[in-house]
Symmetry: D2
Amino acid sequence: MSNVFGRLLRLTTFGESHGPAIGGVLDGVPAAVSIDWDAVQAALARRRPGQSSLSTTRSESDVFEILSGVYEGKTTGAPLAFLFRNQDVRSRDYQPMATAYRPAHADAAYDLKYGLRDPRGGGRSSARETANWVFAGALARQLVPGFEPRAWVDQVGPIRLVGAEEDYAREAIEASSVRCPEPETAAAMTALIEQVRSEGDSVGGAIRCVLHGVPLGLGEPVFDKFQARLAQAMLSLNAVKGFEYGSGFEAASMKGSQHNDPAKADGSGWETNRAGGLLGGISDGRPISFRVGFKPTASIARPQQTFDRDGHPLQLEILGRHDPCVVPRAVPIVEALASLVVADFVLLQQSRRL
Amino acid sequence: MSNVFGRLLRLTTFGESHGPAIGGVLDGVPAAVSIDWDAVQAALARRRPGQSSLSTTRSESDVFEILSGVYEGKTTGAPLAFLFRNQDVRSRDYQPMATAYRPAHADAAYDLKYGLRDPRGGGRSSARETANWVFAGALARQLVPGFEPRAWVDQVGPIRLVGAEEDYAREAIEASSVRCPEPETAAAMTALIEQVRSEGDSVGGAIRCVLHGVPLGLGEPVFDKFQARLAQAMLSLNAVKGFEYGSGFEAASMKGSQHNDPAKADGSGWETNRAGGLLGGISDGRPISFRVGFKPTASIARPQQTFDRDGHPLQLEILGRHDPCVVPRAVPIVEALASLVVADFVLLQQSRRL
Amino acid sequence: MSNVFGRLLRLTTFGESHGPAIGGVLDGVPAAVSIDWDAVQAALARRRPGQSSLSTTRSESDVFEILSGVYEGKTTGAPLAFLFRNQDVRSRDYQPMATAYRPAHADAAYDLKYGLRDPRGGGRSSARETANWVFAGALARQLVPGFEPRAWVDQVGPIRLVGAEEDYAREAIEASSVRCPEPETAAAMTALIEQVRSEGDSVGGAIRCVLHGVPLGLGEPVFDKFQARLAQAMLSLNAVKGFEYGSGFEAASMKGSQHNDPAKADGSGWETNRAGGLLGGISDGRPISFRVGFKPTASIARPQQTFDRDGHPLQLEILGRHDPCVVPRAVPIVEALASLVVADFVLLQQSRRL
Amino acid sequence: MSNVFGRLLRLTTFGESHGPAIGGVLDGVPAAVSIDWDAVQAALARRRPGQSSLSTTRSESDVFEILSGVYEGKTTGAPLAFLFRNQDVRSRDYQPMATAYRPAHADAAYDLKYGLRDPRGGGRSSARETANWVFAGALARQLVPGFEPRAWVDQVGPIRLVGAEEDYAREAIEASSVRCPEPETAAAMTALIEQVRSEGDSVGGAIRCVLHGVPLGLGEPVFDKFQARLAQAMLSLNAVKGFEYGSGFEAASMKGSQHNDPAKADGSGWETNRAGGLLGGISDGRPISFRVGFKPTASIARPQQTFDRDGHPLQLEILGRHDPCVVPRAVPIVEALASLVVADFVLLQQSRRL
């Protein structure tokens, strides 16, 4: 369960950032689908560290190997296994942390849970895992014709994008390495990230994502509401602290007469979309929008007060190479997780009709 | 999947508010547990409509019947089936809505998904389903000695509780029918709810919940992070629009040097709890805190513009009886869902060690 | 898991024969299906005790109550919950067995597993559970147009039916209460059953079942082979000791040149069906045939040597009322389980294609 | 589902015999277990083709690579991924079969199910998959101290081993390459296999397996009976046509007074074990015995009448290299599958108690 996502389109992942490889098995892919591998590679490139001065300089390899499930360019219906070999593994960087607990990291929790842990790079909590997700999400997206997930950076530290929410073009988003579609806000965000990096610090942020072209009627009424699966997916991302969809937490301040989306006068649908495209947990044809909040990267260069496995206090300086702000690189990851949710629901919905 | 919650402690629910009964099967309950039925009944009483002037006057029956799984007062290890007979079913109230789509309701989505729907009371989207959850959650809580979930109303409309977050006593919370532990804020919230009711309107709100006594090491590193399962559970609640834990969305505005919980000087743990008791998806012994945002009740008495199944525009007045604000009654539901998550993780963790 | 059967069409059952009720929740039934309730009732009547002098005289009630999932005669897509109230509960009959272990029963195993047990009627091991299966199977069968499972008694004690295997008509099967389609064999079987009953003894037997009209391509290549799911289903029946399909155990004695089904000369298919309609775990359009072997009923009237919970030896006479041979009444149960397998695979297969 | 086995100890496999690699992910392995890799390698060696003149000469590689889940010789609780690179891939051998359907093979069924197939070596139906199972089973076995599965060849063609069933020593079994523990029978079986090979033919057989040291109380009362999971596992093996446990199909011929295992006079247990170590689906401490029947290898060298994808009749000669009798090499596979079942139940049982 812990390492599986999805019901009918099921991604099982494995791997530690400092072991031989990471990878996964994507099961439930229908047969005879021609995969656009360039699109997969492009999604991985958007996630890769070192794309810009805003991200860590670790040069992770994005070269994937397909081990099964594809024959002459088409899926066969067999499980599609893939792996990414690990390279540039500088385990030395992690040596001081073999027993020390990095503040705001999973180190202590792993020791509590398992009684031991692999100190190299955080084990399963490594962000390298997200390469598996981006790979699988890029395949999943191709199973749903007309579906397009589009995410962007909505907030970096206190700087928040103000404006229309559902109409940003991919080009505008990708125009800046911070992936905020509004140029002036993007510039301010970039400056802030550069500044916290120079201070050996990090900063949080948020991502908004809109799902276009989601088929009607996806999601289940009670425990597998569309938003519940989306939330589960997003909270699987390491630094995520919150999820909201449609009107989100703002709805808490509103009255029903303000919040209920009124119908169009001609009865052809709803005037607004505070529902976020979901009613009763089910997609109704409107764009599905949600927002995800991230904490600042836990690994900062500044010396921090901590303790070790034996409870001895100590001061720790985290070496390694870490993004000062994770949100720009998290944009394709959010899109990938959403794609896995959507494709899984599409297959599930096919089993719901005779 | 749609109607099942949990992996090892599994709740399968059924029932529509205007059918003969609702109920469920709770499977995976260990044998030989003596259940405190008074505690179960007390939890149900806290959820019941008509407890106060703030809630709907529907007199749902809280009388449950146990069909299996208990012998001479103890669980037997067999599935525990239970049901609540429906009473006071006024289907007439719903007649005008047989074809009209109530704004911000699941009506249209159900028609899209299933091609037909039971128009009486919303079918599976009825809030009566939550009686099943409260019942099962009250049992689940008893499987984890020392565990106490404690939730309260944190916000009603624009009125938000300010203050310490982890120390409210159950008595303070239950002192007011609005379930806000701070008397003056509670009074203001109550006044606001009374006002929106008199206006035929409704209002949103938020709940904070703190889980005390959660065993160490619960939660899984990748796809079953504790917070991911909590989020999934909370987003299963009809009116919920957002979930955040620990520092939540506020973390987006912060720097790492501000956000990382520093260690205590003596190495005995962490000074603060912005982590919300969870690191890497795993419980670390600190209280686990989260917050859930609710939209205003969709059913309001005011006439609303909508359309019907055939796309004809019309004006709708929703009769029936509806809470002007759902958050006070949602407090025990949030606790129940959290209890199901915790007990399930406890059983899962037992299978993780030899 | 223990109380759930199926992946997409999922039956969750509950209940003990001497508790208030047994029942289940059938989830995943597509919406808008008109159920033929007479067919359901007819299937239950075929399973009922006391149909003939060959079976126990317990007068179990077959009256089911539908609690949810049906509106105006059609399924709604919501979980379909049903229950059978228990009647004629003679707990007294079971009193002597509160601590004694009945030979060849689950009593000792339950004590080992759970540390306690409900001694009334065997708890979850009661054959009354199979009423739930027959009910759900009769619904499942209706989800697959053209599908017809047809089972008959193939063996009672040493008496075994010889002859063609795939062409018995339902009328021939149901012509005798022993459900063997060949009149002379049926008469011999009946005489044997009457004889063992008069001796206070019981006798084993076997059932052959042929599934007609199974859609092409059902079953999965590796771990969910059609035959693997069938075997799992059949071995869930209390007295079943063996399962074989197609040529079965006889294949062990054969050479490949004898066993491989040869093709028809015109290339339109295979000449024979030693494959049993399944190749590589997947249905290929031929009838699917399998055979199930049952041990003699464990509850016999003769005094037996046993021991109790504390290891004290004792002699036990089992009162109660028990079938001297279970296979005639197991015929509709085998059909029901097979129907659940087939309908589940149909839904799964729908999710396998885009 | 199709490619996953187990509930808590979950094996997900992938790979085609003529693709780059086969492998799997074993999830749910508890942390801090020191794995005996020599035992794993030894189990693989017992399964390997070309061990003796009785088996195919394909020189599959048994060299596995561990990709994750192990650190400094111990499991970490993370998913354990492994792979076997494919070598010696003679795709040419399979060319004539690209469109022809081999009799008694899955070829036609795959075309029906998926609309296309990978003709090289049978895709997912390749017996090479069983290397994954043997690997995982050898690990699983190490999770259950004191557990020993012991299987042997019980039948080859019409030659069947007569004699005691639960006492054969590993040495006696492994003394002959046919893996029958009785020397004279082994010699006769060997002679028969050599003969059918020389005739370009194949022959069926059967395996008996006894599980020693299974913990008490494993198995679930209704749908996850121990024997049901065993049967499902065994019917996942390609050539398996039947499964029986304890007294098996012979029970069908018996009376209850003959079949019920009588208690020992001192009340210390049961005198015999026709129950096969399982009552009510639950292990009771006695050895668990079962038997598995295999059809003759479908790939025979003799020309066979078949047809192709377009329904054209043709005569086919299967080249490639194939075992004339699969049962000797299936012995470690049966043990491996049983080990996966047992270890999974052990973890499940741990979650059943508080």
